[in-house]
Amino acid sequence: MKERYDIIVVGAGPAGSIAAKTAAAHGSDVLMIEKRQEIGDPVRCAEGVAKPQIKEHIKPDERWIAAEVKGSRIYAPDGTSVELSEDVSGAEVGYTLERKLFDRALADEAALAGAEVRVKTRATGVIMEDGYVKGITARHLGEEYEIRADIVIGADGIESKIGRWAGIDTTLKPSEIETGAQFLVTDIDIDQDRCEFHLGNTIAPSGYLWVFPKGNRSANIGLAIGGDVCSRGKRPIDLLRNFVEERYPDGRIIELVVGGVPSSGPLEEMVADGLMLVGDAAHQSDPLTGGGIINAMNAGSIAGEVAAHAASEGDVSKARLQEYEAIWRERHGKRLERSLAVKNRFVTMTDSDLNKLVHSVEGIDFSTMNLFQMLGILVRKNPQMLFGLRKLFM
């Protein structure tokens, strides 16, 4: 087995596969490792993505599209709701994916671009020499060995260790993650064209509950709550059971998903000498929505390209790799900053605040607006409750 590459990518999620594919397409000798024996399984996701953004990275394929949605509806705790058309919610929904197949399709693309892939292979540490990351130690089928590279890209998701091993503290506080549970429920009467979002401190404190159509008579019904408000008897699994038993007593649960997503906003430092972090590993998921698939792919694509150039130039210093971070921040930093500010306000709201918010926009036609514009209207309509956020939406 080969022991040296230009670039090693750790983790074959959306961030890793796009990074590996992009770097390989730019001529680098790439290895991507994944600790699971099956890429994409088990799923830790509600599988909602925006159509236009997904198309920037991969050609839509019906094999991994479970459903297409046209819009969504947001419910206040008292049941009042507002409807968003596709354009508005389009930033967060559009397709419901079949992530097991989607993640594997992305890995397949990385492989077809020339990257080597090793599954059931777990990174157990990084090789550090003269302050540079020079590769990893990995374990496969009980055997541990070293693999060297000029650059290691940590795409190892919320449980990322690559950063920690190289001196970047990626620890999240409980308040900086959303912890969630989801059932795939079938044989239920739901509107297959529309996603639902339910707000409220009883339903999902410091988070929300979602219903994402998954085709036929099924839907991903799940919720995520702040890690700091998760407690015995009120864990995601408990809250979800309550909701599903009450609303869909006759539904059949054919899948269980659990997982956490960073809601902290991006890491302050995403690179070090010989190292780059992408996706959930760099806390690039949206703090407000918890959406992270597209964000992970965006980062993977920038990082893959910068890594390929840096490796071929022979300069993999932090200063050189910072190009990735700079481009990423310029393109995506503002949006995440805004989401974080809104989220920080949102988690302090009582149910009556949330009711007021939704009432304030009842009847407004959002059909030509995006999420940013809709939040802007919310901020203008509720200057006191959303005090201080206005400048973010000018």
């Binding site: 024996q37 088990p42 830790r44 777990r122 990322s160 409980p174 993650i177 890690g227 997982g259």
Partner: protein, 56 residues
């Protein structure tokens, strides 16, 4: 001691992300806790399914 109920655990790795000293690791389908664990209980707190307990 930290006790992980393997029969409950959904091996999602949420617990791994909040451990202040990196003592928690997800190995495919189970969680391992390293000896330097300080029993702070952060991991137990965020578990979506209640699979982790701090045993006194």
């Amino acid at each position: 001691m930290i006790s992980v109920n393997r029969y409950k655990c959904g091996y999602c790795g949420a617990c791994v992300s909040v451990c202040p000293i990196g003592a928690v690791e997800l190995i495919e389908t189970w969680i391992e806790i390293a000896d330097d664990c300080t029993e702070c209980g952060m991991c137990a707190g965020v578990c979506p399914i209640g699979a982790i307990e701090v045993l006194k």
